[in-house]
Amino acid sequence: VTVTCPSGHTSDDADYCSVCGVKIDGNGAPAATPAPVAPVTDPSDPPASGETCPNCASELEAGSRFCEVCGYDPSTGSLPEAPTAQPIAATNGNGTTDTGSDPAAGAAGTGTAAEADAAAGAGPAGTAGSTAAGTGTAAEADAAAGAGPAGAGAGAGTAAGAGAGTAAGAGAGVAGSAGVGVAGGTAAGADAGAAAGTWVAVVTADRPYYDRNQVSEVQFPLGVPARTIELDGANPQAIGRRSRSRGTSPAIDLAGPPEDAAVSHTHASLLPTTTGGWELVDHGSTNGTYLNESPHPIGANEPIPIAPGDRIYVGAWTKITLELRPET
């Protein structure tokens, strides 16, 4: 038996609405008359509450704890904490190309337009290829091809292989051209179905990235062992720093020791896709999230598909390499 709550939700429970939690009286009448709890509609268009922020006088959104303009929390009367580090200059002296910005390169020269498009649309597929090129091993090239959005639906090994080959070509500016031919060639003959495996994030302190950032106020930590974190494909995997007071405890926790203080508490997340892959989204972090060797941070709140071998750079020195390890 379902009941309708005072706010109009269909509730599975008769006592309190199973959607918004508001009390339901025996006949479904509102518990307290002046309580028009706004049903949550499209989150992109939150209803206004009719109240104004005591700090900046912007209109507050109903149901939102913080002022969307200045971040003021009316319940505690506090403003968000100041950023923990100076924004890091996104300089990159290596003259590398932005791999994600030229997806057309991936499509060019492949015979099967559909799969090639998928690979190109993925953007980072190019960079995945570039990693495979860099390491030059057939197994990784294979995994990269299979796990990318191109390989996910593609039974045809050659199609995915072609995707990987061209992707590697597109990413050549990053990885250097030496191994490209090898990776593309090997992948072309390999089985694209080999995408099954365990996704892991390998967290390391990366000297070249740290050097590029030129943050003198943060010391590069020496002797940090690589950490391998198995990704739980059932849940979003947060990247950030744990904080008891903020209640954050991200799966990929960079609070250390050593702590990368230039990482925001809630910095970014890896979101599992329905096809077993992952997307990377930055939550408007202070210092940004960089994918592979791109000099430009990824846009805030825009999920970007990622592929095995992709490198995520956050904070002052943290490098997170995503790997798809074959099931043993």
């Binding site: 429970d13 006592d15 309190y16 609405c17 199973s18 959607v19 918004c20 939690g21 508001v22 009390k23 518990a31 307290a32 008359t33 002046p34 309580a35 709890v37 949550v40 109903a62 149901g63 939102s64 704890r65 009316p74 319940s75 062992p225 690589a226 950490r227 391998t228 974190i229 198995e230 059932a234 849940n235 744990r242 008891r244 209640g247 405890s249 799966a251």
Partner: protein, 430 residues
């Protein structure tokens, strides 16, 4: 048959605009150990450190042999078991390699006791290998209750990530109680294992105390009738779980263990249960509402497998009556203090290790004050072995000279133990 009952302690009244709701949820299980429910559904793996350090002094390995035999005697008929010797690898002492777990009866217990008589100390310490072997052994069993007992006297000698990696693979597959013998082991290391594997950690200062401790651990493992319990927390749309923390019998943050059931519901694994009571602190951010509105901030269900075994409702009512909304639930206040007590002890001892006596004095002083306020006598006793207390009420203390390492480690390992509100009995379920 085990029956669960649940109670909620909270002040459900919020001031206009307030959004944070705290509640203590107590879960009590009764009737589980009246029947021999464990037999046939329980598996135990005893992991004994036999690294080189166990032979120095040689009383340790001898004590370990006796203690292992004692623990084996405590295994009830029908329970599946194995004994693993840990060095820089792991070897199954009993039963023979490849035969999985043995089923306890007079004959298998006798064979196992014979096998542990020949335990020899030698080699390194690689705990990831020990845990991997335990996982493998448990993997051959269908038992609902899977308990490992890990005893070591030393520090793990491998890259930390290997242990982290092993723990990730073992989480949810079995539970582990960890004990450190002597003072050469690392509290944080065993706490990490025990915490990930939903177990307890403690110090066994003298080798000859192993026997009694082993028996207690084994009997506790046998006494658990419920394999996998979990707390399932539903929150309304727009609300958020700030944290879910076990606060009795010891403090353990469960927030990071959440498994998403559906967009509004998360589940927190609790492990096996015997006849015991545990308390949980649930903190929820709810969207602010109009005065007079009553809503449900959280529906907390106790799950045993797929079965719903109990329910508690955390409510939120907005009121303009300041006297009602300003009151803090005594239970919430008590456990917030207990969590702060545990944090102060750990931070104080860390500062002491780092040579920062000033911070250590402040933190351990605050800990003494909190322990005194909550009537936590056992923690005050432990604190007094590390600090000289001038005034409990104000937390005025001085760090003692010549602190016994074992006392410091006992304070560290037991720092997370709490007393229940009003010092009710059952604070330490084991």
């Amino acid at each position: 048959m085990t029956e669960f009952s649940m109670e909620v302690f909270q002040n459900e009244y919020l001031a206009p605009g307030a959004t944070t709701m705290d509640a203590i949820v107590t879960v009590t299980a009764r009737g589980g150990s009246t029947v021999d429910s464990a037999a046939g559904n329980a598996a135990v793996v005893l992991i004994i450190d036999t690294s080189g350090s166990m032979s120095a002094p040689s009383t340790r390995i001898r004590a370990a042999r006796h203690a292992a035999a004692e623990a084996i005697d405590a295994i009830r008929d029908g329970v599946q078991f194995a004994v693993v010797a840990g060095t820089d690898t792991a070897s199954t002492v009993f039963p023979a390699w490849g035969s999985g777990l043995a089923i306890a009866d007079a004959s298998t217990r006798g064979q196992a006791k014979e096998a542990v008589k020949h335990l020899q100390a030698g080699g390194g310490t690689a705990m990831s290998m020990w845990l991997a072997r335990a996982a493998e052994l448990f993997g051959s069993s269908r038992a609902g209750i899977r308990q490992a007992i890990l005893v070591t006297d030393g520090e793990n000698r491998e890259d930390p990530w290997l242990l982290d990696d092993a723990l990730r693979r073992c989480m949810g597959r079995f539970q582990a109680d960890c004990r450190g013998v002597g003072t050469d082991w690392i509290v944080s290391e065993l706490r990490k294992i025990a915490s990930a594997l939903l177990g307890t950690v403690d110090i066994i200062p003298q080798p000859e105390q192993m026997e009694a401790e082993f028996r207690v651990l084994m009997e506790a493992a046998m006494g658990r009738g419920i394999g996998g319990a979990a707390l399932r927390v539903w929150c309304p749309q727009g609300a958020r779980v700030n944290f879910v923390r076990q606060v009795a019998p010891h403090v353990e943050d469960l927030t990071g263990r959440a498994q998403q059931v559906n967009p509004l519901t998360r589940q927190y694994p609790l492990g096996a249960w015997g006849d015991e009571a545990r308390d949980y602190h649930v903190c929820i951010s709810v969207p602010a509402n109009n005065v007079g509105v009553e809503m449900l901030a959280a529906r907390v269900n106790l799950m045993t497998g797929d079965q719903n075994s109990g329910q508690a409702l955390v409510k939120a009512v907005w009121t303009s009556d300041e006297a009602a909304s300003a009151r803090i639930s005594p239970e919430v206040a008590h456990y917030t203090g207990q969590a702060e007590l545990a944090a102060n002890i750990q931070e104080g001892l860390d500062a002491l290790k780092a040579g920062d006596e000033r911070t250590a004095t402040v933190k351990l002083g605050r800990a003494t004050q909190l322990a005194a306020q909550s009537g936590h006598d056992s923690t005050i006793r432990l604190l007094k072995k590390v600090v000289d207390v001038e005034d409990e009420a104000t937390g005025t203390v001085r760090i003692r000279k010549n602190i016994d390492k074992a006392d410091e480690m006992a304070l560290d390992t037991r720092s997370t133990r709490t007393v229940r509100v009003g010092n009710k009995s059952g604070g330490d379920a084991e």
